[in-house]
Symmetry: C3
Amino acid sequence: MQQVFQTQFNTLSSLKTNMFNKDFLLTWDRSEDELKAVLTVAQLLKDMHKAGKSIRTFDTGLAISIFRDNSTRTRFSYASAANALGLGLSELDEEKSQIAHGETVRETANMISFLAEVIGIRDDMFLGEGHTYMREFGSAIQEGFENGILHQRPTVVNLQCDIDHPTQALADLMQLKNTFGSLENLRGKKIAMTWAYSPSYGKPLSVPQGVIGLMSRFGMDVSLSYPEGYGLIPDVIEQAKKQSAQSGGKFEIVNSMDAAFSNAEIVYPKSWAPFNVMQRRTVLLNSNDKPGLKDLEKECLANNAKFKNWECDEKKMKLTKKGEALYMHCLPADISGVSCAEGEVAKDVFEKYRLATYAEAGYKPFVIAALMFLTRMENPTEKMKQLLENNSGRR
Amino acid sequence: MQQVFQTQFNTLSSLKTNMFNKDFLLTWDRSEDELKAVLTVAQLLKDMHKAGKSIRTFDTGLAISIFRDNSTRTRFSYASAANALGLGLSELDEEKSQIAHGETVRETANMISFLAEVIGIRDDMFLGEGHTYMREFGSAIQEGFENGILHQRPTVVNLQCDIDHPTQALADLMQLKNTFGSLENLRGKKIAMTWAYSPSYGKPLSVPQGVIGLMSRFGMDVSLSYPEGYGLIPDVIEQAKKQSAQSGGKFEIVNSMDAAFSNAEIVYPKSWAPFNVMQRRTVLLNSNDKPGLKDLEKECLANNAKFKNWECDEKKMKLTKKGEALYMHCLPADISGVSCAEGEVAKDVFEKYRLATYAEAGYKPFVIAALMFLTRMENPTEKMKQLLENNSGRR
Amino acid sequence: MQQVFQTQFNTLSSLKTNMFNKDFLLTWDRSEDELKAVLTVAQLLKDMHKAGKSIRTFDTGLAISIFRDNSTRTRFSYASAANALGLGLSELDEEKSQIAHGETVRETANMISFLAEVIGIRDDMFLGEGHTYMREFGSAIQEGFENGILHQRPTVVNLQCDIDHPTQALADLMQLKNTFGSLENLRGKKIAMTWAYSPSYGKPLSVPQGVIGLMSRFGMDVSLSYPEGYGLIPDVIEQAKKQSAQSGGKFEIVNSMDAAFSNAEIVYPKSWAPFNVMQRRTVLLNSNDKPGLKDLEKECLANNAKFKNWECDEKKMKLTKKGEALYMHCLPADISGVSCAEGEVAKDVFEKYRLATYAEAGYKPFVIAALMFLTRMENPTEKMKQLLENNSGRR
């Protein structure tokens, strides 16, 4: 094995994981060792890819995706991960299917899974639904597996639900780890996860929830900030608080972008809809109440407009530690003067960190590949060893 | 070779087949040996998959699909089969193509087939069209092959046409073979292929036709049942009768679900549109006569409504042999109280057999893989031997 | 190495190319040696495929496609090439993406390219846009690569832009090379690239531009012909003239189909919209001026209708050398009495050459594969040697 990979491989060998045949839905369902294993495998796969090596671990097999909302980044990250590991991609396009007939999730889940290894699901629009759908899906294929319908138990990977966006948050964590040198170095560092103004409404809560739900595990000083009324799901806040206490970090909620930015080493300004608006919106969407939705949008946009000063600009960046905090975003950002008149971030701030945000996004394919690897390989350490030792390159 | 596979391999070796480079359109075009070879190869591939082995037989190559109607199960079965054998999937989406320009089938067939191994086609909506389209497609690529345009002759696999649904019927037959122990054990067993009430109309005839067209080959006692006026294509009925006589089975048509169920060991209650309605509907669809279609739908639904008692419920199930007949369905079923108010099958009956219907569906990917294998491999026995002897697993 | 491949391999070895990690956008950007290398690799890959060999050169990797216009042939050619070389296909469907948010090309280009090898783009509808988009895309991934965002520099392959359609023109050139025996034999041969009548308007200019831009490199006698007012992009005309002079060929523009056909050994009758109409159309499309577009269409169709006699019929074919010129078309053709009442070509002429046009189209998958091969392999000659020497077949 090349020395460059040996250290990471040793780290992986030292971690205790129990992820084989388990769904990956929320980061806070997994142990710290398991999260570290995800980061380590993702980094190993990324470094191998960069070195021109093949990271193929499957001869054949399907990676199925179900996107219930538009997506570019996550779609391509998933497609890239599947292909790199040797899986074929098959997308369930619900419009082209017979699911409208009133077919149950239970049935669909089994029907598409006979030869599947992984099912990636994105379902982030309706509060209370995405995560529930993934759980139902997981139960259905578990039943199918236990009854001999499915030869193997495929694993569900959450590609964004109403509660968490684990592949994004884990990619964000890799960006932090590599920027600051190690996970250990993140202890005590202040991260400002803050609402920002956007000329749209109804953006999902899962990105900020995913970030506070993950960063609070590693002793960081998490400052969550939003205008009054723009709260997140209370249970997730409680989870973050608890984890923060356990990991020796801090957790605060403030109602000022300036306060959050003050002395922060990382800032994550990102728009989202208030929790209670998402609740009302879900009711209206489910009853297909178009006038109601129109009214809600109008009300919310008017409310948003009161907070146009929640923009990440040069002046606010000066409040951060040495004025040099790392700016983060899951992309695409609403950039003032580029993609909208007034948005989440000023043009010059974004431009300064633009390539850094691309690098942040660049971890996602490998995080997804790591989740596939760890949930599909019975002995991931042994398999990784084989991959590192017998490798003739991609071309 | 592992002993567990040896018996089936010996069976395969003993069968005489001539399927290489031949389209697979109707089961009654193929010899009994060929059908047995399909079942045997499908079972071998399924058992190998279950044992974690790779069933890859292609290094590269395209499996093309043309779906002219919505589909989930068949789409995923085809995608799964293609991937498992090592083929890449490429779907012809007629909406995104230039075919609307008035391009001929002859041309399209060649244009998409330069590197294709298999073309799977589903075209089941218009009576008199699907099968004809597949034949035309086959002739076009035959011409292309004979004239050196195509390097090889891809094979067309019928994924459901107006006449037959061979991959479904063969999956159904595998379910029967495995439930009752052998094909030989099916002799004399009564199967009730019966119409059932559904709140929709215009369901294709190919499932019941496929079932009677295949089960009549194996000495079964086929009871076809439907309300007066809900007949199938007369030629298919004739074919089934003839085969029934040849195979030492029985064939009857009755107009009562109770009569069909009486002493049956297998029941297959499934809605379909009357043959003459499909004829009228095809004319209306081709002339794009929307008011005419609306009227026809109204008339048919009203007619269907007279037969709401054609539901497979507990009481009818009691009429079957020991009250324990095997319930079959191609899925999705119209389940009373689940996917509709009143439908083909009562909720409790369906629930009792739900997992059995999933298992039934689970044969389809391997039936399709077997058709790909047998129509693409010049010497399928030799190839199967290699697959069984040199196999290092899927991961 | 088999003798049959040795000659072509020797040719490839003798050519000087510099295509690794370079985009392939316009044929006139590449040297004569490079174009010859494309033809040689395409022919080798085609012959290997015909001989049942595998041409797989990648273990894993993505070939991404972006189709901003409908396509069948090019879509399947690209899918076929990608699969044959071992790449997975991933299509960017802009409707299902988040790109509508106002995301920049710069960002999208990087987001989808983390594990990509090749990006095939078709963008041919708006004059002044397709080629520009491809250049922007290329610059964006170059920046990403130079800044360590991308591990490798994927290459952009032009699958048709507003200026050139290089994969079509190169397939056309292969058809000519094989019909007349060698590139050298094309010297002095007259090719009539001529406008033809079609009942539609707004067909792209890139096919005729691609043909005159490529055939003028090989000493051919290029006769470009169109009704007054149906000119091509002036810069492309100038390029073709210059190349014609350099290669010892001829270049003329005439306003008569008969004049172009006279003594021609190759005819390529194909409809296109006048350059100035495409300019006006682009303005209207960009301002989404639907009444304006309707008016323009009406005006153009009325103008087109004056030139219905620009049809390639038996009588005009008699004007060609010995009445036996080779008829070419990129397909689908507007065939009088088949796909339209009056069109580009008479039914009997098309039928005579129909299989020849299929053969012409049959080069395209291999031309695309050759472009992938030459832009991705650092040492294509060495790689080709390996492919020829170690090959166990596709099945």
